[in-house]
């Protein structure tokens, strides 16, 4: 094992996805923690606005599950400068996901050890039923992503596996719900059985072991320059002016959102960021 990624390093969906996209960006962002000027102008004028709106919706749903009076939340949503937030929140309240039940945990963190490596997931909502675990992830995409897109995401693998393995109770099937606030009637749902979870476990174990075994020169830059369009290290790698790539924008949006919500920018015990967008 190299010193680069130490034993106590915490893997999560963002850093694993970053590694899969570009090994070098993983090294710079999660190992060396190098601050670098992002190519802000490349990220479209709505990027920042979308981030803040998305984070605010997450907060409102969190507050809803904490038991704050929904009328107050509706007033807050209605007074938020971006009118989409109010629409999204009303969509949420009208959906099956607003049903309150026992054993629901909003913004809940679980961590497991896989082959000696720590793997962490912070769920928007996780609920435990007697023979089933439900994971809900709220999304605010402008265009409804395809089912295949979510199926291939590291997030799907990490969340379902951590949820299944973190429980002392014998493994229960896991259902993962991606709920898009602009498309409330079209949730994308994955049911994971034991066999699928085993495959995820093998893949993620291999991936984490691979990362920990790499020497510094093996953290190579991606060979696909489309991945660089929105990358904050674009100028570090001298890769300007590459053609836009939608998936890469999605990755950087997700990283921004998770850090704005204080989900993945911290090592264990580190000071969390302020969770809401309007800070």
């Amino acid at each position: 094992m190299t010193e680069l990624v130490p034993a106590g390093f915490v893997f999560h969906q963002s850093n694993l996805q970053a590694f899969r996209t570009c090994r070098h960006s993983f090294l710079l962002r999660y190992v060396r923690k190098l601050p670098w000027p992002a190519p802000l102008a490349a990220r479209t004028s709505s990027f920042e606005k979308d981030l803040v709106a998305g984070s605010t919706l997450h907060s409102l749903i969190h507050q809803y599950f904490l038991g704050i009076n929904p009328e107050l939340l509706i007033s807050c949503a209605a007074n938020f400068p971006d009118s989409r937030v109010s629409v999204w929140f009303n969509n949420f309240l009208g959906s099956q996901y607003a049903k309150l039940a026992a054993n629901q945990y909003p913004e809940h963190t679980l961590q497991i050890t896989l082959n000696g490596s720590l793997l962490l997931a912070k769920f928007d909502l996780i609920s435990f039923e007697e023979d089933l675990i439900h994971i809900c992830d709220w999304k605010t995409s402008r265009v409804l992503p395809k089912r295949q897109f979510f199926q291939d995401r590291i997030q799907t693998m990490v969340y379902t596996l951590v949820a299944a393995r973190a429980q002392s109770q014998a493994s229960r099937p896991v259902v993962m719900h991606y709920w898009e606030a602009s498309f409330p009637e079209q949730p994308i749902i994955f049911e994971m059985d034991k066999a699928q979870l085993l495959r995820y476990e093998e893949s993620l174990t291999d991936l984490m072991s691979n990362i920990q075994s790499l020497e510094i020169e093996e953290f190579e830059r991606t060979s696909d320059p489309k991945k660089c369009t929105y990358c904050e290290y674009q100028s570090y790698c001298s890769r300007w002016g590459t053609e836009a790539d939608g998936e890469s924008l999605y990755d950087w949006f997700e990283i921004g959102l998770s850090e704005l919500d204080g989900k993945t920018n911290n090592e264990p015990g580190e000071f969390p960021g302020t969770p809401l967008a309007y800070n």
Partner: protein, 708 residues
Amino acid sequence: MIYNSLIMNGILSLTPERMQEQAADFLAHPHLFLSGPASSGKTSAALLRLHQILTSDFNSRTLVLVPQRSLGEPYQSFLRNVNLPSSHQVSVQTMSSIVRRMIALFWPLIASHQVFRHPFEPPRFLTLETAQYYMAQIADPLIDRGHFATITLTRNRLFSQLLDNLNKSAIVGFPHTELARRLKSAWNGDQSQLTVYDDVQLAVNAFREFCLEHNLLDYSLQVELFREIVWPNETFQRYFQNQYQHLIYDNAEEDPPYVHDIVRSWIKNLQSSLIILDEEGGLHSFLGADPVSAANLVFDSTTHIRFKQNYVSPPPIKALLGYLQSSQTQKLPHSTISQALIITSKQPRFFPELLQSVSQEIADLILNGTTAEQIVVLSPFLSDPLVFELSRRLSKAGIPTQTLRPSLALKSNPHIQTILTLASLAHPDWNQPPDLYQAQFALSTAIPKLDPLRARLILDQTAPNKSVTSLPPIASLPNEVVERIPTEVLGQFEKLRLWLSSVDPSEPLDYFISRLFSELLAQPGYGFADVQEAGEHTARLIQSYQKFKRPVAADQGADAAYLGREYYKSLNQGLLSALYLPDEEIVGEPGVLIAPVLTFLMQNRAVEHQFWLNLGSKGWYERLEQPLTHPYVLNRQWQPGKKWTTDDELALGRFNLERTLIGLLRRCRGQVHLCTSDYSEAGIEEKGLLLTWAQNLFRSALREEESD
């Protein structure tokens, strides 16, 4: 025995004493108050306890509460190395960070109390700097109308003291409307000062009203809302009690009393609590720390363990500590003193010579086997020339240095200076052109092959009035200038000029900076290319602007052009002087640490050799001049109606000095090197209390020895 496990190796270098094992046993002592001096093993005992919790109570969560981030480092380091699946169940936080996050999360509850004019609109959190920005909007007109006329402070210091008053009222727990009354009742001097306190009250009242009108939350309002609305709320309590089952609260003495009030009312609902008090602490009293209030938490714990060991100090230092803490009538032998405190045989006349001899002593120590990380150089204040000169000399000897000091001014960084100057040139609508020197510096930093003299030749063509409003096209330069500058450099200059002149004034400043960096400055041939530090500094400047923009963008009419102009103006006025992101700026690789005394003390680490500089300075014990506030009067321990006298001031100075000396000696594993020159860093002869104390100590020991 948990401390023998591999996991704990490296965390505790000493085998825990029985007392530490007792303190770690959270089942036997669920609510424990642990006190003792620095270096007595309290934090090590807390780490043992945390390890016990993590390995025996997998599903519970622990809050490690510390007064400031640096004091959380031992816990974070432990958690980074412990590699347990339950490690994520521990959260290391300050109460300020909890307050801010909880206000954000429970904002709808606050909204229902209708405290603000627009309660359901989002809150706008202010940093110290953005609070000063808004305080300036309130106080500037007052100053212009003749208020605060007798006060000779820079406006920035005036604003910060006004805010400090509000903060004191919140953390001590009295209405801000009582500030003037309290300050007046303790005032013992010229009656004209009483009018100043009325001005203070006028300004803070207006500021608070302004905040309530615009949903602005400075630190004082955050604390008040948390204490009065969030904390007592049932929904919040249900949430918070579920969040944590165990509490470890270290260095409670460095927190203000409102934190102790919160902890006190919380303990009974926790499965376990450990409160740790450094008996000789309270170093942050001038910021509102209240060690007396912290000590009272002992009454809310079921067990009190007191550590008396000193795991760090060698015998001579221990003897000196004993002497300091006694009535000082029993003299110490000269041999003991000279083993603990090293003085140079020949005192240099000037400060640079002193730095030369300090560098030499450090080099000798390293040559004889001391590691650089075991050496610190301390001074009450750290000036740029001191840091530069000492680092330069040590670096020349191949010795790495690390500087640790409170946030540096953004403007003092050459990369940031360059960007800001270029930004002002690209935005003539800001009407804040740089002066000739700034433009010259920016050009020669942006284009390394353009030396300052040639940059000046170019600028002289357009800057007759010593301020630069635009860059001249190369076609307009006289032949004698063109001939003196290589064609390649002229091309780079022209490219920069054209780039700046094509900027859309309505582009947000962070976008502008990001483009300036990537499209120009980081390109081959320009000054930021392949300079990693330049990238880091640019990223920090962008983050600094974004922090400023968050609250200010909601102001009426605050478009991108307005925000950029206001940010630049505020930086120039010094309102945003300390907007570096980390609380404390650590510069350099691990090596000899150069730090202000207080900053080092708040790191809570021991070293073998301490070099104390500027011994004659009053900065070792005197408080800063604060004519608009008073940290010891606006304090829960202050007796109402009592006057603050010169005797109080002198007693405070002596007390501060003694506490600092004890704190430093307790963090010394080897020797203290007393470094003094005839003329101080400021070029004057200084004879402060510390220098006098040290001289008397040696003299009386020598006299004693001679008389024997």
